[in-house]
Symmetry: C2
Subunit: 144 residues, 2 copies
DNA sequence: TGCCGTAGTCACCCAAAGGTAAGAAATGGC
DNA sequence: GCCATTTCTTACCTTTGGGTGACTACGGCA
């Protein structure tokens, strides 16, 4: 029952989660807020966004082509698009140096850092349970 | 520099993160593992999967149509698809009762519960920073 | 003179995601 | 005998995501 990962969070998060889970009646929260949260999650829980977030968290400030090189498989178009969107959402800053050839630096904002931290638990989960999931798939595919 | 949220995590996670970050040479981790983790994240970080995960975590066991009713906007096709995939990944169990009309119950496995817990931080983040993101967007859209 | 490198934008195209709607199977109730 | 109910599956179609490759601006350098 006791989830091995739940002590991963701050006491006040736990308190909030408890509050959230404790209300037996389905009076969760304002459905408008819930919809907004869902939208936000949908926007954020995107493959490229997560990878860029991770990379910048790890490496600090990077310029466009460096990110492109290190996020494997991303096209220039998707990189631009992802960075623009993250900038719009306030997750990173884009600093243009007026030199030639152009130089643009990207770095996470505190908001971006906090999102990265929020996702840390998910990365840890994925690392830890990779093999469990793989085994489950094999089992599922084997039965008929 | 010090991330205000990093004390959110376990000591061993911090140690792991430190190890991860301390290696100045780009010898992060096995690139094969990293690719697998990225794949897994990509599969899991899906809008419908997250919503179903949340719902089942909150409500316990539910049957097909109940989930369909409560996950707003999901089509029957996507619901079936999402549930099948989650079952394959070992996140939930699907119990068919051989009655007529059919009755199928869905419930999270412990693995599903642990994933839900791992995402808890993200939901909390989204709730807390909804307005910050909204404000950032307004600011971004206003400048030209 | 002309090529290089950076950080894009733009136009075009294809593949995949996802919506809609119809049908299937089985049986208790009218 | 027929209809409703539930959990799907399948076929078809539209929308979106995302790749590719051409193009630009600019100054330094050969």
């Amino acid at each position: 029952m006791a989830n091995p990962l739940e002590n991963r969070f701050h006491a006040d998060d736990i308190a909030q989660a408890d509050h959230y889970l404790a209300t037996d009646p389905p009076a969760d929260l304002d459905p408008r807020v819930e919809r907004l949260v869902n939208d936000l999650i949908g926007r954020i829980a995107d493959k490229w966004t997560l990878l860029v977030l991770e990379l910048l968290e790890e490496k600090g400030t990077l310029r466009f082509t460096e990110i492109g090189r290190q996020v494997e498989g991303i096209s220039q178009k998707m990189l631009t698009q992802t960075l623009r969107q993250m900038e719009r959402d306030g997750l990173l800053t884009r600093t243009v140096h007026p030199v030639v050839p152009p130089r643009v630096d990207y770095a996470l904002t505190p908001l971006g850092n906090s999102l990265s931290a929020a996702f840390c638990g998910v990365w840890v989960w994925a690392e830890r349970n990779l093999e469990t999931v793989e085994a489950a798939r094999v089992r599922f595919d084997a039965r008929d």
